[in-house]
């Protein structure tokens, strides 16, 4: 095997998102992996390496007890909401380098009810930050979108439109959690969580698992597999001066965040421009995040979102369908799995296997963007 191999995805599998009583995160991961292996037409003993991650459901590498103890190298990944993207980055490098030609990437989680909480000392922050009530992710998203709305003339109704789209798409997705459409007024008049964001504009921590089978193009050819090309993956952490989750202070001279850096890098690596993207997943931790991330990734210009959501540009039937499976808003946020759910959905869209959610016109270029604390982002470009 030589270096510089093209990397393709030959199988995807998923356990439904949302609350499933009596099934552990591990069991979801095993189910998703089996589904991905079956989709790829291979068996676990064929798998040469794996990368996997979970925040709350244990060590991914311990899954070999259920999948098969073949002795393969299985690396645990832990990058918050970016875990899936990080795992896929590492897997891609393993194949592109020529070290391996067939591997699995798995992400899974089963979070308890209620908001995320984190020990500030895990992130190198003082204990006081948590005990005095500033270690809350929703505060960051609320304040970031507050300023964005003022700077770029985005209305609250646009925040509501992101949510209604999410639940409308979720209704078409049998694997989603929130599958009941809501009206814009129901979203706007719901209980305020962190102004300007109401309850229905926020995702909830949730449950789910996704697995992908990745291969070199050459191995995929020998297997006769149905492939989607993982054209590029780029992962970035925050630079000094960027405004990210859990920031006790901000520099007056601000730098571009990891979303801007990762997306710019992935389009350059893929040799594709954002204007060529035909189906996208952008991190919609809350409504505002989808809006801001559309511009930060270069998919639209800052401020354009107001017109886009009024005109339905990001609907399944629109010019740039975004979060066609309902995104994080409708699927919930099992942080180990989200980055891979995004890829799973775009792969199915490019294969024409998205069922009732299928984007018409045979899309051939897809994009995913995941973002997480304390300021990391991973983006992919997928082509068919």
């Amino acid at each position: 095997m030589s270096a510089g191999q093209d990397v393709v995805i030959i199988g995807v599998g998923m356990h439904r998102f949302g609350r499933t009583e009596g099934v552990t995160g591990r069991e979801m991961a095993v189910g998703a992996t089996h589904a991905a292996l079956a989709d790829a037409g291979i068996a676990w003993p064929d798998v040469q390496f794996a990368y996997g991650g979970s925040y709350a459901s244990g060590d991914a590498d311990a899954l070999v007890s259920d999948l098969g103890m073949t002795g393969l190298p299985f690396v645990n990944v832990r990058n918050g909401c970016g875990t899936g993207g990080s795992a896929l980055t590492a897997a891609r490098q393993a194949i592109a380098s020529g070290a391996h030609d067939l591997g699995v990437v798995v992400g899974f989680d089963k979070h308890p009810r209620g908001a995320f909480n984190e020990d500030p000392t895990n992130l190198g922050l003082g204990e006081w930050y948590g005990s005095t009530g500033l270690m809350v992710t929703t505060q960051f998203f609320a304040m970031k979108i507050q300023r964005y709305m003022v700077e770029h003339d985005i209305s609250p109704r646009t925040l509501a439109r992101v949510a209604t789209k999410a639940f409308r798409n979720g209704a078409l997705n049998p694997m989603a959690w929130r599958r009941t459409p809501l009206s814009e007024d129901e979203v706007l008049s719901a209980a305020m969580v962190n102004p300007p964001l109401t309850q229905y504009m926020f995702c909830s921590p949730g449950e789910g698992a996704v697995a992908l089978v990745v291969a070199s193009a050459e191995r995929a050819r020998r297997l006769g597999a149905d492939t989607v090309q993982l054209k590029a993956v780029e992962l970035r952490s925050r630079q000094f001066g960027s405004f990210e989750v859990y920031s006790p202070w901000i520099s007056p001279d601000r730098a571009d965040g990891p979303t801007v850096q990762a997306s710019r890098a992935v389009f350059a690596a893929a040799g594709i421009g954002p204007e060529e993207v035909q189906v996208a997943q952008v991190q919609d931790t809350e409504s505002g995040a989808e809006i801001m991330h559309l511009a930060e990734t270069g998919l639209c210009r800052h401020g354009e979102q107001e017109r886009w959501y009024a005109d339905g540009v990001t609907e399944i039937s629109g010019r740039l369908p975004v979060n066609t499976d309902g995104g994080v808003l409708a699927n919930g946020e099992p942080i180990g799995a989200t980055g891979l759910r995004q890829v799973h959905e775009v792969v199915q869209q490019l294969r024409g296997r998205a069922g009732a959610r299928q984007v018409p016109g045979h899309p051939t270029v897809g994009f995913t963007h995941v973002y997480g604390a304390p300021g990391i982002s991973a983006c992919t470009v997928l082509t068919r």
Binding site: G114, S131, P195
Partner: protein
């Protein structure tokens, strides 16, 4: 590393209200009351802070703010305070 003395006055850069009681490590103080959270621009740095106001209709970006203390939680027989910013009294709106 060196210490830099910051002004006790700044302008409100962004704000929100915490409407639900956070899980631990937040240390509650009896019955939960929503509290304001914001960022205040002090010039060389913009600091995240509690606010003395929990009503967004009383706050605006660019509002003059001044440093104060608010009770955070009780520890044994005493109250632990944390820093916060309050709308600056007498400042023109």
């Amino acid at each position: 590393m060196r210490d830099v003395a910051l002004s006790t006055d700044g302008t409100l850069w962004a704000f929100t209200v915490q409407h639900f009681e956070p899980k631990p490590p937040f240390r509650a103080q009896g019955e939960f009351e929503p509290y304001g959270v914001g960022y205040v621009d002090l010039g060389p740095v913009i600091v995240e802070t509690r606010l003395t106001v929990a009503d967004t209709s009383l706050l605006r970006i660019g509002q003059p703010m001044t440093l104060t203390l608010v009770p955070a939680y009780r520890e044994e027989q005493s109250t632990v305070f944390t820093y916060a910013f309050a709308p600056r009294a007498g400042a023109t709106k």
